[in-house]
Symmetry: C2
DNA sequence: ACAAAAGTGTTTATAATACACCCATGA
DNA sequence: TCATGGGTGTATTATAAACACTTTTGT
């Protein structure tokens, strides 16, 4: 589905520090930034659960670690002079190409056994990492999970130096992930469901113009239960956050639905107080 | 109001590492644990916002740093072999004496400027800390905020080696706190309000037996708005989580209210789905 | 013309809201 | 006995839920 150049760079400097390329535009074939562990906050990482909506299904972006059959949620480290939220935005931009993402911290994971030593050893050995770099990577890590809601069609997924494949998988087909990443994803989904009334799911995950049926499908996917068609329509229209456009005539043998877009100003104002679809 | 022995121990070992006593039972006048920075997760701390309810007011526990006129929310560090939640429970126990506290992570704070260098320098200088220990404490810190709900009357507040005064202050009289601790407290209050329907506020913050009026006052304090007396009573009774006891005859010149206690089993079952007082 | 899905309408049940009434208690 | 706040009742309104009817489209 996706085409990209595999590009990989890894080296160790004379002090034994671990250097690696953390971001590169594959198409331009050049590294954007090079840094070493001295510039990173130790023991602290960020993991991004990126959720999109495609073919009436919620999907999460996962990446396969290079040379290994291990899937992970995209993550990264924090620069010592960089705020945590900023780091999350940076990491996300590298993976999706999206510039102003919706991004929200949802939980911090700090169990001692969240990264099994044996498991991480296998990973880092496969990258030929050893010495101080290995020590640094093998230290106890606490990670903060960020939830991002995106429009899959706007994402040009890029791989990076550590992974050789990226894909969107529907929530009920997530394979076993590295470390505690399954738990991190589950936690993000819970957060999405619980905070639904305060999250801009429609504006972030749907294309600019959409039908009410599509919006309903999105809500149903998140809530994991069917909603009444008529009631949904009436309720969402009553909120006065949608702008009606021309009819969408592409569909099947049935009445053509209207296309709508969000009135961003009204939508955001309403989000502050929250609005609900519990039924 | 509270009586305690001031007890303070601080030293530096031959490698320049910073040793300090992080916990002691003041009454028993002995240190429970001694540790140094080599055993701590670097750059990661925990801050506890402990909320109680007294005289119809929500109150938060703050402590004054020894030798300084600086107030903070009780916090601490994490052992390298200790889970983050466990660290929070440990820290909380030292400060309140409560054994099985309600404790929940609410947010992680990772801005680069959350600890002003100048401010922290003043603090650590006042403790005569220098060398590697100072470096360790001056590093970039990311902190995870934990919310704890307690019954103030069950807390025997203990001070520790770093502070010489602890007190409960009502939420609208919080003084200026060190670093970003005001922001941390505000964030905790927001969380409490938002998650109200899923938090065991009644069970944690009220005494075993209480009147419905007291419970209503608690909810009103959190929501910051008055609730209808009759409706509140009917609604809470309909939930079938209260056990009615004898009448409370201490009050004023009026009909004596019943005392109630929670049916913990039913209460906890109901909490999972959440129950609301939005009005 | 017909099936399918959109758009709209209607009825019923449930919950929120406001406020009224009577009761028990201590001063 | 009277002021005070507790317990309960009721009427009104708003929202949720279920489902029926009509309209528009492609085949």
């Amino acid at each position: 589905m996706m085409q990209f150049y595999k590009y990989f760079l890894m080296c160790t400097n004379d002090t034994g520090n671990f250097f690696y390329i953390w971001s590169m535009k594959i198409k331009e074939s050049k590294a954007e930034t090079l840094f070493d562990q001295d510039k990173l906050v130790p023991g602290q990482s960020i993991d991004c659960v990126i959720i999109g909506f495609e073919n009436n299904e919620l999907k999460v972006l996962i990446q396969k670690l290079m040379n290994l059959n291990k899937w992970v949620v995209p993550g990264g480290f924090i620069f010592k002079d960089e705020g945590m939220d900023h780091a999350a935005i940076r990491i996300l931009k590298e993976r999706t190409g999206i510039d102003l993402p919706f991004l929200e911290q949802f939980k911090t994971f700090g169990d001692t056994d969240r990264r099994k030593k044996a498991e991480s050893m296998k990973v880092y050995k496969s990258f030929n990492i050893s010495g101080p770099a290995l020590d640094w990577l093998q230290q106890r890590f606490i990670t903060t999970g960020y939830l991002s809601l995106v429009d899959i069609n706007k994402c040009s997924i890029q791989s990076d130096s550590l992974s050789d494949e990226s894909k969107w998988v529907s929530l009920d087909k997530i394979p076993q992930l590295l470390f505690d990443h399954n738990q991190i994803v589950d936690s993000a989904i819970d957060y999405l469901k619980n905070q639904l009334n305060y999250l801009p799911v429609g504006i972030e995950m749907l294309p600019k113009k959409f039908t009410i049926k599509e919006l309903q499908n999105l809500y149903e996917s998140i809530l994991k239960k069917p909603l009444d068609r008529g009631n949904f329509q009436r309720k969402i229209l009553k909120l006065d956050i949608l702008v009606r456009h021309e009819k969408h005539l592409a569909g099947g043998a049935h009445k053509a639905p209207f296309l709508y877009s969000f009135d961003h100003e009204k939508y955001n104002k309403l989000l502050e107080q929250g609005f609900g679809f519990n039924s």
